[in-house]
Amino acid sequence: MAARPRTEAAVPASAVRAPGAGLRPSERDEIRRRLGRDPTAAELGMFDVMWSEHCAYKHSRAVLERLPARGPGLLRGPGENAGAVSVGAGWAAVFKMESHNHPSAVAPYHGAATGVGGIIRDILAMGARPIALLDSLRFGPPDDPGVARTIQGVVAGIAGYGNSIGVPTVGGELACAPCYRRNPLVNVACLGLVREDRIATARAAGPGNAVVYLGARTGRDGMHGAAFASAGLAGEAADRSAVQMGDPFAGKLLIEATLQALATGAVVALQDLGAAGLTCALSEMAARGGVGMDVDLGIVPRREDGMTPEEVLLSESQERMLLVVRAGREAEIRRIAGRWGLAAAVIGAITDDRLLVIRDGDDVVTRLDPRHLTDAPSYAPDAVEPAYLAALRGFDPAGLAPAVAEDALVALLRSPGVASKRWVYRQYDHMIQTNTVVPPGADAAVLRIREAAPRGVALTVDGNGRSCYLDPYVGGVLAVLEAAQNLACVGASPAAVTDCLNFASPERPDVFWTFRRAVDGIAHACEALDVPVVGGNVSFYNEAGEGIYPTPVVAMLGRLDDVRRHAGVGWTREGDLIALVGCERGWLDGSEYLAAVHGITAGRLREPDVSAVVRAIRCVREAVAAGVVSSAHDCSEGGIAVALAECSLAGGLGARVVLDAADERRPDEILFGEQVGRIVVSLRPGALGALGDLARRFAVPLKVIGSVGGGRLVVGAGVAPSRAGATAPGSAGPWLDVDLATLAAASDMEERPA
């Protein structure tokens, strides 16, 4: 069967164990049945990795079927190395996200760096030039020195690889919670660009064609080799096997060499050598194409002497690709490799017998139907609602003493998930390739597509583990809607989703229940938005320490018909009106306010009215694209108060805002309550009519809540202000009256330890 989102196992298969140690007895029986004989040790090792959760997503496959893989402009869905959608003028965007959690836990710099390298090559395998990266990160509390080092290492690793290969990192997210202390999450998404008629495939074809190895040489990376013979504890050895060293220099050369090789027209198919190395690429490419292959491992370029055939087959050395090249044109590929200083070798040929024959010189290592390796068994684990949920849902914030609003706002702005991420993205080259129209710092990044001018794309990545912990279904819905909402704020409409599903062990029924519910939520919201899920990745067994929150992360790609028509977060002009588009109320349950100010993670999440949120999203996108509004920013963590503070900080302008205090709601709920579908916009007073028309057209609530100006953010309760601007806050005095410098100091993490 075709390749699917690849799962990352907490402990990758490695030769530390006896070959086949990861296989269940029933799986060993199945292998014997399929082969009609006992597998050799080498074959057991191959089945072990190919049938690992790592490669075979055996616990998730059935659930992932629920994700919609249809939508306007879809060119390639799941099944190839990455999905592709049209961005117009004959150009395709290729999009994929992957996790590198466990490697980043044990070697933050190299783990994160190779995470970038790995996802880049999935995009490259589609024939696309990588044009943007996004990173979604989760860590423990940063005041722990060990965590701080991990954070620094991961960010430096992403920077070290991404900056060097010249692909801009244009956005991401970062949040901290104790459950990630020993199990950080490092998810990286990549976007590539390719002409629609040049999208490459990983289906091997054409008996007689050459199987060509291209890239860095093969060493004993990602496995327990003789070099590591002094391995101590099993745990350490397993960790060691997860550390692969990346070489961004070779990665950059590989990008250029591969794209040049594709441009010759001599390449029939290609795939990156990632998890399970040659074993995976050979068997998947052969199985996909329904052909056989005959290869000789003896020819594979090596970095070390004395590697066994098994080691060559399973090595996860970085910066390598496998190409199927038209017979007779191998020399062209060799020449290109030579020019870029990379190794290239014809290691075999395509055959017409549907058999994968792997030799080591004169010895046959294996001869089997590659589909035996790629069609792993699939499981439907038990799913039981976790017991903790009932207790958490019973929590009622009504009993809580409200905090002083100003202190709470400052505390929220200081919380690592809400604080400005400038300290992160200033370490990333986010401008290289000179297409970044809206750099990181806004709700989504915007890139121009020169080749399809004036079109552009927008990118965002969103996930909220705390929400998913409290209600995985709602959390899944929220991740997708928030992503779409972020795109709308910059003027883009959703085009494609890729996801990374980070969970603990699927073999635990309560965990598996959360996985299923989260996928349901993502599927539902994607259907409501009519956006396809073009690929993704599952990372199970994230349970070092206490076990992480269920953490699905969604990356979304948007289209802009005219990239010049975008908006940013910040207020742009004194005297502009401030309006709230969409639903008016938020709730404290499960909010950042509860977590950051009161230290509580509990409550019952309200299921959003998905169709109402989708209408609000479409309304705002229209308003931005039509130039009706000057800025747009959604209310996410920290509610409307934090959103207003961010608009003020980004624009360097204050605001006076009056919020409706009807229904005797608590001020902290009005200020800090959260719900998706609430977007703050600013506009010239004269544009209010046009915005009102749009709101009516999409049947979306619209309310003017204040005006831009001054050097302070003043928020009070009262009746709605007149058209001319905000009325003075209510008689009791404003809830908030803060100068921008105070807000900036709180939000700026620069001067604090990471």
Binding site: V106, A107, H110, A216, G219, R220, D221, G225, A226, A227, F228, E236, D239, R240, V243, M245, D247, F249, A250, R303, E304, S317, Q318
Partner: protein
């Protein structure tokens, strides 16, 4: 006041991309006869006190200066 000199290098078998690049650079400069180059990091640490020196240095190396999954270290005290 003792000074510790620590050298951290990659374990054998771990890809040493800097070493390879430097090797090529030396060759391009005309330095024939270079068989191999390995790159590493060096630290000179001045310490107070002379107690438990080895323990302290090992702690620094294993907990901070080297990632012992992929790197090895050695030191001498002068």
């Amino acid at each position: 006041m003792p000074t510790v000199r620590v050298i951290v290098t990659l374990k054998p078998g771990v890809l040493d991309a800097p070493g390879q690049a430097i090797h090529k650079g030396l060759a391009a400069l005309g330095h024939a006869g270079v068989r191999a180059v390995r790159a590493g990091r060096y630290f000179e640490i001045e310490l107070d006190g002379t107690e438990r020196l080895d323990d302290r240095v090992r702690d620094m190396c294993e907990g901070f200066l080297a990632n012992t999954l992929i790197e090895q270290y050695r030191y001498d005290i002068v």
